[in-house]
């Protein structure tokens, strides 16, 4: 199993993702420069957090035109697994690989804090290591994290069971006060229709060691390893 971590100009969680995979989980991992046009030999690809291209225009709007994105679209179409974390999630929605959009947080503030997430679906390739309804603790750090989609799209996501993570309180209740950014239905992470592309605002790669306060994020990467 080999992971690739894409590096856009302005990515800043690429090293965190690389670190957790290589040094915590002992997995093979390589950086992928955004100018690459061909992807070979990767089993899963991570679009990391950061501010690709300065988040100019809209978060993720310019990164989606990076040469590597065409290759990633093809990779995903062939069933390759892709995780977009934070800015990576924003890139995936701008690229049309996931539905909806990420708007500025409803309170107009950058939020850097720990949140609780409810595993809404523990049967996916990304969440098999978790149990149904498990509550995870992970950090968020974003300004544009308010998940928006129109009513039809939200219904489709629900009907197809593509909502994977929802913001919740420590007990697992999905409440308005537990929603850190105004996302519809407290959505923190969703899948594409084929369920091989995951986008999420919280940072599992920053929740991989006890010293960081949580190891709850490891389950996502371990779930993928189990499927290799």
């Amino acid at each position: 199993m080999k992971f690739g971590v894409v590096v856009f100009p302005g990515s800043n969680c690429d090293h965190d993702a690389y670190h957790v995979l290589k040094h915590v989980l002992g997995v093979r991992v390589e950086y992928i420069w955004h100018k690459e046009t061909a992807l070979r030999l990767f089993d899963a690809i991570i679009l990391p957090g950061g501010f690709a291209y300065g988040d100019y225009l809209r978060a993720g709007a310019v990164a989606r035109f990076s040469p590597v994105m065409q290759a990633i679209v093809k990779f995903a179409e062939q069933g390759g697994r892709v995780i977009g974390i934070c800015n990576g999630f924003q890139v995936l929605v701008e690229a049309g690989m996931l539905p909806g959009a990420l708007l500025p947080n409803d309170h107009m503030r950058f939020r850097c804090q720990e949140v609780y997430l409810r595993v809404a679906d523990h049967t996916t390739d990304f969440t098999r290591q978790y149990s149904a309804g498990q509550v995870l603790k992970m950090p968020i750090a974003h300004y544009c994290g308010q998940y928006f989609a129109d009513d039809d799209t939200i219904k489709l996501l629900q009907d197809q069971e593509r909502i994977v993570f929802q913001y919740c309180d420590a007990q697992g209740a999905v409440t308005k006060t537990a929603n850190p950014n105004g996302s519809r239905l407290n959505i923190a992470g969703i899948l594409n229709e084929s369920k091989n592309v995951l986008g999420m605002m919280p940072h599992p790669e920053r929740a991989g060691e006890e010293i960081l306060g949580s190891t709850d994020g490891l389950g996502i990467f371990k779930s993928l390893l189990g499927n290799a």
Binding site: R58, A61, E94, A101, P104, D106, H107, M108, F148, A149
Partner: protein, 85 residues
Amino acid sequence: MWLAKIVVTYKRGILNPEAKTIQHALETLGYQDIDGLESGKYFEVRLKAGLKQTQAEQAVREICDRVLSNPVIQQYTFELEEADL
């Protein structure tokens, strides 16, 4: 040369917290007659001379649809004028 003046705003029904915050600030300053406020982004795109007006319009529309706006949440308007720049 054509000059396209493009304005991108959020669609109706999408919460625009920036606009809300500005409106609230103005009301706090005593401007009580404000009935609504929208904020957005403004672009000026210059297109090479030699294009017909319909070609220029089509180019601008394509740029707006593909890049300058996100059709999921935003809408745009533009004016196209002949410029001497």
